[in-house]
Amino acid sequence: MLVSLFVACYNDLLFPQTGRAVVKVLERLGHTVEFRSAQTCCGQMHYNTGYIRESEPLLRRFVETFRDAEVVCAPSSSCVAMIRDHYPKLAREMNDPGLVADVDQLVPRVFEFSEFLVKKLGVEDVGAYYPHRVTYHPACHSLRGLKLGDIPYRLLQKVRSLQLIELPEKEECCGFGGTFSIKNADTSQAMLADKVRTILDTEAELCIATDNSCLMHIFGSLHRGRTGVKTAHIAEVLASTEGEPFV
């Protein structure tokens, strides 16, 4: 399958290793990955902060970039939730019937990475080896937006030598929420402190998620506190093999 990677703007700049991991996993499974360099940002930050008019050209650009793609795979549950939950409505507000038709045809072909592996490719064991004790934080958009359910767990359980520890109160938001973490920094930090406490309680070496934006937030506190606990995107765990450890 020719898989078009939408890496997400923040991964592109801050977490390029996640994009590389997705490429590695998909190629290992025998698929071809393409990266359309015209891609930038899905518009989530603008949209969620209320800058809806400013997110419109970004929707248009996304659609123009990926209109003829066979499938689009993105290692970011919040971006895929933006596309799936808000693009159809936003396109209609833009009063462009052609765009609406394009969006309606494209959106069902856009998948979050773990969902793509399990639901679209039907793969749970990607041949990964990861000899570490990890816990998994279900990011809000993967949990309540995309309703990924047990998909990420099924993938992680098939990773050889990986020890998966259940995260207490896992469904609680980490407090990131995009610009919420800035506009309501104190409340955001209070939420983060509880999330970090539960992560430390698991005595895991790493916290895994489907979304680097939440992980960036969690990492920020884990590192500031010198806890020694790291964060990694699920793609990076799945990319690791015994011969070639990824992280």
Binding site: V7, C9, N11, D12, L13, L14, F15, P16, Q17, G19, R20, F35, S37, A38, T40, C41, M45, H46, Y47, N48, T49, G50, Y51, I52, R53, E54, S55, P57, L58, R61, C140, L143, R144, E171, C173, G175, F176, G177, G178, T179, F180, S181, I182, K183, N184, A185, D186, T187, S188, Q189, A190, M191, L192, M216, H217, F219, G220, S221, H223, R224
Partner: protein, 485 residues
């Protein structure tokens, strides 16, 4: 007409109030404990119903239908109340509602009223109005009584005293109740002892006071009946013992038929208190000879609701049945408590209701008081898409700001506009990447940025990962070159 709800217009912005609330260790403990207890009870009891999602869909559809034909159902309700011997008053705002109720009490020479817990009464600030005119209101719901005696404010609309614990309640009772007159020599710390004190304090008022004031959970158009759902039985007392009953109800509370209650009764108690059904459900239709009050008045309150109805996207906030499941589920509310919202209706539903009921400018911080985690939407029995409405209100605020030069020149607006432009061109994005990498240079150490001008809201408590040497797109380009070579 500029509608203001309670003291919300004078309240400090959410983030400021929240900062103080977050430092109150007693409050944090009380909030965490109480919201987790109710949330777990709710999850267990909702989990019993295999058709919960169908019930949600049915409830949502029923409410959407009522909003579409609200005028017709309200007129039908009015006709049926009058036919049954009751009186109907229409109040367009809080001032009118207060005046109507005060006039009614004064016409009957009342100096006291007993009250069933009612949010609409909080909304119109009825108690201070009555008190200012020599009429004493007695709250009879246990939690509302605690709030009233403690001269506090409600922080939750199902359990208003959620933010205080039993030891704090004991102190309030000891200070404010005539314990000796009530036949109590001392007051213990156990909840049953506190409940007994409240019972003795209230029983005497139920039997003496001749005017009752209530709200209502539902108003039934086809019969002109009203419904109060409660846990303690104090409501039943207030609705049946007085000679005169005055019910203040928001116009959005009307449902077409008695049959419509089936769905809501299946959901309300489960969502609100984690019970299969509420211990007391009172349904009454105006007056009956030799049974209950001799005179009945219903005051239908608009107070901004018809304006909310005009907004196709925002109007779903009017579907709310006040179960407060969204409050108990909300990670923000669970930490800051209700007072930080500076609102009669706190929590996620308050964050979309308050800015719409009153002018948006009076509650600009509330639409941002959410991480958009979606727990509220998931918990809502009538499927109000709270995150979607929050974003809608944020966009209204942004558009309002962009109309003024100050808003246009704000750091946020300039930043957002610039980023939107950067993301509209690949070459601009590449340049922005280089610039960001250069800009962080002096602040980078050991792979992180721990402080950087302009980012202090983040870096005060959190590190930022440093920007790596190579972006993904640069890596991809190099990889392509190597492959070709």
């Amino acid at each position: 007409m500029s509608i203001r709800i309670g003291k919300a217009a004078e309240a400090p912005p959410f983030q400021e109030a929240a900062r103080h609330a977050l430092e109150d260790s007693q409050l944090r403990h009380n909030m965490r404990h109480a919201t987790h207890v109710i949330r777990n009870k709710r999850n267990n009891i909702v989990g019993e119903l295999p058709d919960w999602e169908q019930l949600r869909a049915a409830a949502s559809a029923a409410k959407a239908h009522v909003m579409r034909y609200l005028d017709l159902y309200l007129e039908q309700f009015e006709r049926n109340v009058i036919k049954a011997g009751g009186h109907v008053h229409w109040a367009s705002d809080a001032d009118e509602a207060r005046q109507i109720i005060r006039d009614l009490v004064e016409q009957h020479g009342g100096k006291e009223v007993i009250k069933v817990k009612t949010m609409t009464s909080e909304e119109i600030e009825l108690n201070p109005e009555l008190a200012a005119h020599g009429i004493t209101p007695y709250e009879t719901d246990l939690a509302e009584l605690i709030i009233q005696l403690g001269e506090d404010f409600s922080s939750h609309f199902v359990v208003p005293a959620l933010h205080i614990n039993h030891l704090q309640i004991r102190q309030i009772f000891k200070r404010k109740m005539p314990l000796e007159q009530m036949g109590l020599s001392d007051l213990g710390e156990k909840p049953p002892e506190l409940a007994e004190a409240a019972r003795r304090y209230l029983r005497e008022k139920f039997l003496r006071v001749k005017i009752g004031v209530s709200g209502a959970n539902f108003a039934i158009a086809e019969t002109g009946s009203l419904v109060v759902v409660e846990s303690e039985g104090n409501g039943r007392m207030c609705l049946t013992l007085p000679d005169v009953l005055i019910t203040l109800v928001g116009i959005e509370k009307v449902v077409p038929t008695f049959q419509d209650l089936e769905v809501f009764f299946n959901m309300l108690a489960r969502s609100a208190t984690g019970e299969r059904m509420s211990p007391y459900v009172s349904v009454w239709t105006a007056v009956n000879p030799n049974d209950g009050p001799k005179e009945f008045h219903v005051v239908l309150l608009d107070n901004g609701r018809t304006r909310v109805l005009e907004d196709e996207e925002g109007r779903q906030a009017l579907h709310c049945i006040r179960c407060a499941a969204c409050l108990n589920a909300c990670p923000v509310y669970g930490r800051t408590g209700g007072h930080a919202y500076g609102a009669v209706y706190p929590g996620p539903i308050g964050a979309i209701l308050m800015p719409q009921l009153q002018a948006l400018e009076h509650s600009q911080s509330l639409p941002y008081a959410s991480s958009l985690c979606g727990a509220c939407y998931e918990a809502c029995p009538v499927k109000i898409n709270i995150p979607e409405v929050l974003i809608h209100l944020r966009s209204k605020l942004v558009q309002g700001k962009q109309e003024h030069i100050g808003g246009k020149l704000s750091r946020e607006n300039i930043g957002m506009k610039m980023m939107s432009r950067v993301f509209q061109s690949e070459s601009r994005l590449r340049r922005a990447h280089k610039l960001a990498r250069l800009g962080q240079g002096p602040f980078k150490a050991d792979g992180v940025v721990s402080s950087m001008p302009g980012f202090s809201a983040w870096t005060r408590s959190r590190d930022l990962p440093a920007i790596p040497k190579q972006s993904f797109r640069e890596w991809w380009r190099d990889r392509g070159r190597q492959k070709r070579a």
